[in-house]
Every structure is written in structure tokens, then in C-alpha cells.
Symmetry: D3
Subunit: 76 residues, 6 copies
């Protein structure tokens, strides 16, 4: 039943795997709940869909805008 | 006002339509609340973004990894 | 893995049980996914925490304000 | 710490930027909480993944189906 | 259909009303979407249920722990 | 910006503190993202509001119903 939803900046696939493993281990060890029952969703969003301090990330940080452009082109 | 968010494995468009109709009917009949006011979001994620038992689905189940690859290619 | 989150007005315990049973049956029949793997959370909020059309429900609808008052007193 | 999740129909990038700025200003002015600590996620979904009144939006509204088709093609 | 979920520190009822009104106005003016269709949920949690920087708020900030204690006693 | 929402069975305050610390450390070490920017919400619900396999937890498991009763009485 336990379900963890992670709102995170974009992660490489490798980091997603490491993150899911680490969070699951941490959750099991700290709560005693069975890791096999834990589902984790990594919520990735375009940086055009995330705002911090009143600005879209892609407006607030040029390097993030550049990264987002490359991501969109690679995954076009 | 009622809003249902469904974290689900990937569904075909046809199954999404059947699922939304069935959930709406079930919700209206069981609660008496007006189906026309109910919004449903089906939250679909890449299987690279879902972890169960500490592993990404695409690492834990080779057949899911294969399905995800085909989905990405078809929707590239 | 599937997880359904229901943002709903307050329901009696009886209606919660009927709703969970009906939604689970509807989900299983429409998607073919195993009902035993489905978790449902019914998200109940105070009507002071829900806004529609720019007003708190308890400001917009006097009868809801009255119901919320009684609920708070009974569950005080 | 505050986090706002917006389930919204598709918005142009320009409207996302205006919306994030307006929501952040409104939140800060009405609560007194620091805008710089506020994160906003705009949750956009395919109109095939949103149901209202028991139907997928793309089944219920032909013009929305057409818009979704164009969006998918442009972002293919 | 639009739905906004606000994860916020505790707000007084008065601030909730002002916040809902302000967010709704901001959303309508910035997106052109009808305010009457917008639902807002203010997600309030005990400060024992919120962690920042690896600590529960009630452990990280003594004044917050004190406020939470008073809130629990008033709403006991 | 990162935000983790944990849908979990009820945890003691002590376990909440350990869980938040463990999840934060795991997240920082696996993603390289700054722990100080991570917010965690532990979503606790009455067991009358959680369904698994089509039944409310309090209907499916008598021992959980008993625990829920005691929790409600202690926190009445």
C-alpha cells in the first residue's frame, strides 16, 4: 500500500534506479514496512511546467532553458 | 468538485475510455454525487519512472522494459 | 501498484465502503488489472479547506457551513 | 516549502509563465508567505487521459480531439 | 475541471478565504479559464508530518513545535 | 524544489522523524540534489479512508479496525 510520489528535477535513468533503490531501503529500514509493497512514482515535468519564485524555471535560469531544449530535441 | 487521480500502468486509449466510464458510474451510484461534476485524471508514467520493491519496473521485469521500448519508439 | 486518490466531499463510513468496493470492481473490469493490487485513498478535507469559484465552500453555501460545524463538533 | 500543483488544460508557454507569476503573487499577498519558497507544478495531461462526466475529453468534445491531434503531431 | 492543490503551512480560516479568492482570480485572469470551474484544495498537515532538510518541522523549529502543540490542544 | 509525498500507514512520531531523515539522506546521496531544498509530506489517513482489494482497511483487517478505534479515542 505505501506509495511515494517524488516531484523531482529531471534525472538520468541511472539516477532514477539509484534513487528508487535508496528511497525504498530508507523507507523499509526506518518504518519496518515491507519494501515489496512500496510503489514509487518519479514525477518528471518539463522545466516549462515548473515555477519557482514566480518564474518558470526556463525563464529564471538560462542554463536550465538550454538543458530543457536539448532534452526536448533528444526526445522529439 | 470531486476529482479522481488514477496512478495506473499504461492503458490503451480504448481501456482509458472504458475505465473512465466505469469509474464515473461506480462513483455516482455509490456516493449519489453527480457524475457530471466528476473529473478523472489518468496519470501515466514511463516504466522508467515507476519503482516497485526498490527497482525500476524496466529493471525488474524484462517484458515491461521491452514494452516500454516499443511505446517510446511508437510515440517518438 | 495502481493507486487511486479520490478528492471527495465528506462521505459516511458506509458510503466510503460502498464507494471503494464499486471503484475497485469498475477498475478491475475495465482494465483487467488485479483488484488486490489496487489501493484507494479517499482524501477528505474540511469544507473550510475547499474553494470553488473563488470562495470557501463554507462561505459559498450556508448549509455546508452548518454541516461542517456539526461534523467538527461531533468529531471534537 | 509551499507547493502548488495545478491540474490544468493545456496552456501555451506564455500562459504558463503568466499563470505562475499571477498565482505566486496572489499566494504571497494573501498568505504573507515568501514567494521565493513557493514551487508550482503545472500538471498537463493528454486530453485522452482526462475524463469529465464519464467520457474522455477527446470523446466528449470533437474540437478538443482535433486540438489534441494537432498537439501530438507538433510534439511528435 | 481545473483543480489546484496547495500544500501550505497552517493558515487561519480568514487567510484561507483570501488565498482561495486571490488564487482563483489570478488563475482566471492569467489563463482565461472560467473561475467557476476551478476547485482548490488546501492541504494542511500537522507539522509533525512535514520534513524540511531531513528534519520534522517540529524538531527543526522550536517555535513551530510550540505552535503545533497549541493547535492540537485547541482542536482536541 | 524537490517534494516527496508519502502515502503511508500511520507512523509514530518517532518513526516519522527517522523516516524523514532516512528518505532525505537517500535522496541527496542518490541524486546529488541538496537535502535542504527537499520537502517531505507524510500523508496519513484514517484507515476508514484507505481501501485495498475493494475493502476499507478497517473492514478487511479486524486488528487494524481496533488500532484505528484506539487512535481516534486517543486523539479525540
Amino acid at each position: 500500500m505505501p506509495h511515494i510520489v517524488v516531484y523531482s528535477p529531471r534525472l538520468t535513468r541511472e539516477k532514477k534506479a539509484t534513487c528508487v533503490a535508496a528511497l525504498t531501503k530508507a523507507f523499509e529500514e526506518s518504518t519496518g514496512l515491507d519494501a515489496n509493497l512500496l510503489t514509487i512514482h518519479i514525477e518528471e515535468h518539463s522545466y516549462d511546467n515548473i515555477g519557482v519564485g514566480g518564474k518558470l524555471l526556463t525563464d529564471a535560469y538560462p542554463e536550465i532553458a538550454e538543458r530543457e531544449k536539448q532534452f526536448q530535441e533528444t526526445n522529439q
